[in-house]
Amino acid sequence: MRLTLVGALTAAATAAPAAAFAVDYLSAEQAAQLIFPDADHFAPRDLNLDAAQLQAFAAQGVKARSARWTVRVAERGGQPLGYVVSDEVLGKFELISYAVGLGLDGAVKQVEILSYRESHGGEVRLPAWRRQFIGKTVASPLRVGDDIANISGATLSCTHLAEGVRRIVAVVDLAKKNGSLG
């Protein structure tokens, strides 16, 4: 084991401002190809949930959050293989974007994290803070993602991410039933 301390855990050190942290893993397109390596085409299908559908989600205990969704249908030779939906969730300090791949039966096949961004304060709740990342992908990484540092801490729970995956399962289920993916 090679351990070198470069920081201190004294009160003076922890009073200093903390840094933001960000990693870009995959673009939504790369994730779709990773989840469905055999696909030769991904056909986007836009979905607009109406008020009644949003209420039906709420009745199932699913927070629909958005009325507009895009489901990519993974295809090979024109035949559907499954679906990919990407979304993002907010944690206490972090913004996580992710992609969910589902089989034709609507069951989750794979979840890939696209990016992880940790704020250095409460900014994660500010729309202006989140807006700066719109359109950022692996092809245009942020400066903060350039080093490979890893975080250790005790609080990161993926409850909100699990909720997000359930939401996507419900959205795809609805889209299948009402023929939006045909």
Binding site: M1, A18, A20, Y116
Partner: protein, 249 residues
């Protein structure tokens, strides 16, 4: 032959993350010679999922889930993976004079694991490998990467992490109160884990809220954070036995 620019770190490390073990698992692998890092990372995630399927107390079909639901006198067949975690937990329980304990309910004497399986001796005993399982899963994922020929890389399960090979990895500690991270150490060929003190004790602002441990293996780093918290002693004698060091913060 051509040289890679040393600063172009994205060209060398393939990095992926998935939700697993109730947190975010981040895996990086040296892809310098096109060594099949993508497939190796996939195999490492599969290995973690397999460990979780055996050890999670939240899964009623896991070996631990079935033990917890079983009546007194039951014997649950367990595979070598589960056996090795339970053996490590027993060794730590003894070495720490009971400070480390994976049993809830009627206590540490109400179960036993041997070659015949996992024996439930009391009706009320439940096992929870939350204090050691994540570290074990990280070690298992590192073995999966190495078995696929990955020379260097890391596995980080929400802060319980291990780095192997020539890589020296910067470790940042999350500010649990207000967000953000601070550089704390650099680590090569070893493991690092952080745990929070139980609710109630953390309300006392004069006391530290977290324990971090560096150790050669992640199973030991993870489990030793619990011993440091339970004892309140960042210089607990057990740390030296496992080649570990600890900080309360």
């Amino acid at each position: 032959m051509h040289a890679r620019p040393a600063s172009n770190i994205h060209a060398r490390w393939l990095r992926r993350a998935r939700p697993s073990l109730g947190t975010l698992v981040d895996i990086g692998a040296d892809d310098a010679d096109g060594a099949g890092a993508a497939a190796a990372i996939g195999a490492a995630f599969d290995r973690i999922a397999a460990v979780e399927a055996r050890l999670s107390r939240f899964d009623p079909g896991s070996e631990i889930g079935r033990f917890n639901a079983a009546p007194a006198g039951a014997r649950i067949a367990v595979d070598a993976t589960t056996r090795s975690v339970l053996d490590a937990a027993c060794a730590l329980h003894e070495a720490s004079d009971g400070l480390f304990d994976i049993s809830l309910g009627s206590g540490a004497r109400a179960w036993r694991c041997d070659a015949a399986g996992l024996h439930k001796l009391g009706a009320d005993v439940r096992l929870d490998l939350g204090g050691i399982g994540k570290g074990f899963a990280v070690d298992a994922a590192v073995e999966a990467l190495r078995a696929r020929g990955i020379a260097s890389g890391w596995v980080n399960a929400g802060g319980d992490l291990r780095v192997f090979g020539a890589l020296t990895l910067p470790i940042d500690l999350r500010d649990e109160a207000s967000g953000g991270v601070r550089r704390f150490a650099t680590l090569g060929d070893g493991a690092f884990a952080t745990s929070r003190l139980a609710l109630g004790t953390a309300r006392d602002r004069a006391r530290p809220g977290h324990a971090s441990v560096a150790a050669p293996r992640c199973l030991w780093a993870d489990a030793l954070t619990k011993i440091v918290i339970a004892s309140g002693d960042a210089a607990h004698p057990l740390l030296a036995r496992f080649g570990a060091c600890a900080w309360l913060h």
